[in-house]
C-alpha cells in the first residue's frame, strides 16, 4: 500500500510527521479524503478533527483551523494549534464548552458572540477527537 507523508506544523513545533495511508480533512468547502498521488491542492481547513488512516488503525487529531497543502506524496497542514489525543485535557475542554455555550445563550455584542462560537468549535473538536 502506498503511503503519503503527513506533517502537521504549528508556530511552536512540528506536531506530527509520519507516513500514513489516508487523510480525511474538513476543508472550508467540504470534507475531503486525500490518498497518495492526489492532485496538488491548497485549501483552508475548518476547526474539526482530522482523521488519519495508517495501516489498519485510525487516529484522530484535533486541528484548529489553518491550511492544508497537498502534494503528490506529501500533505502539510499549517495550523495555529493542533493536538493529538494524548495531549488533550478533556475536562478542560468540557468546561470550555460549557462556558462558550453560556456566553452564546446570553445577549452579547457581535465580537464576543463570534469569539464564543470559535471557542465552542474548538472545545467540541477536542471532545470529538478524544470521544471516539
Amino acid at each position: 500500500m502506498s503511503t503519503l507523508r503527513l506533517e502537521i506544523v504549528t508556530p511552536e513545533r512540528i506536531v506530527y510527521g509520519e507516513d500514513v495511508n489516508m487523510v480525511v480533512a474538513h476543508g472550508v468547502a467540504g470534507q475531503l479524503g486525500i490518498l497518495p498521488h492526489h492532485v496538488p491542492l491548497i485549501t483552508p481547513l475548518k476547526i474539526a478533527p482530522l482523521k488519519v488512516k495508517k495501516g489498519n488503525s485510525e487516529e484522530l487529531i484535533a486541528v484548529h483551523g489553518g491550511f492544508m497543502e497537498v502534494r503528490k506524496d506529501k500533505v502539510v497542514i499549517l495550523a495555529e494549534a493542533a493536538e493529538q489525543v494524548a495531549d488533550i485535557d478533556v475536562s478542560r475542554a468540557n468546561q470550555a464548552k460549557e462556558r462558550a455555550e453560556q456566553r452564546l445563550a446570553g445577549k452579547n455584542d457581535h465580537l464576543d458572540h463570534k469569539r464564543a462560537e470559535l471557542a465552542l468549535q474548538r472545545a467540541v473538536t477536542r471532545i470529538q477527537t478524544t470521544g471516539k
Binding site: E12, I42, E69, L78
Partner: protein
Amino acid sequence: MAKGMREIKRKIKSTQNTKQITKAMEMVAASKLRRAQNAALASRPYSDKLKEVVASIATSGSSVKHPMLESRPIKRSAYLVITSDRGQAGGLNSNLLKKLLETLKEKHKSQDEFSLFVIGRKGYDFLVRRKYTVQQEAIGVPDSPTFADIKSIASAAVNGFENGSYDELFVVYNRFVNAVTQIPTLKQMLPLDASEFSKKESGASALYEYEPEPEAILDVLLPKYAETLVFSSLLENKASEFGARMTAMSSATKNATKMINELTLHYNRARQAAITQEITEIVGGANAIS
C-alpha cells in the same frame, strides 16, 4: 583601626552575596537562552512553509492582488514594539526605545500620526510615562511564549492595517545576532514586500488547485503570515533578552570578583597596619619601663 577592618569585611561579605546572585542569574539566562533559541528554530518550519505557499499563490496567478501586498500613500503609521518584561539586561530595552523615539520624532509631527502596540512591561511603562497613547499592550508574556499569548495583539495590529486605520506597520524589536550582540531593529511588516515572494523557490513548485479561489485563500493566509512574523520577532527578542542578560550578568560577576580582590587587599593591609601598630605600642611600652 579595628573598626575600619570590620567595615571592609562587611563590604566583602555583601559583594560576595551580590556576586552569587549575578552568577546564578547568568546561569539561568544561559539556559533560557538555549531554550529561546530552540523555540526560534522550531517556529521556522511554520513560517517558511507559510511563505512558500504564499509565494506559490502569488506567482501562479497572473494577477493576484491583495491589499496587504500593495503599498498605499502613507497617512498614518503603526509601530509594534517588542520589549522585555524585566530589566537587568544591559542596554537592551533602552537602546530599542531610544531608537523608537528618534524615529517617531523624525517622521511624525504629532501623536495623531501613529499608533503604538506594545509587548512587554518595560516598553509599556516607558511610553506611558512619556504620555504616549498605547493602543494595545501585552504584558507578562511567558519566557517560552506560545502563539496564543500574542495572538490577540498581533491580529489587532494586522486588522488595523486591513481596515485602513494606518497605512504601514513596523515591528520594533531586538534582532538576535549572538549572545553578545543584539541589534535594535525597525522592520517594515505591512504592506508585505511582494518582491520577497516573487523569487522562485528552488524546488519546482507544482501548480496547485485552489479551493476556494486563490484570492480567498490569500485573504486568510496573509494575515496569518503577518501574525507569524510578529511571533517570530517576539521569539527573537526573547533570545536577545536572555543573551543580553547573560552578558550583563557575567560582566557584573566579573566586576564583583574584581571588587572582592581589591577589598581583600585593603583588608589585609589594614590588618597588617593594625598588627604593626600594636607591636610598636608594646615595644614602646617595654622600652619605657626598662
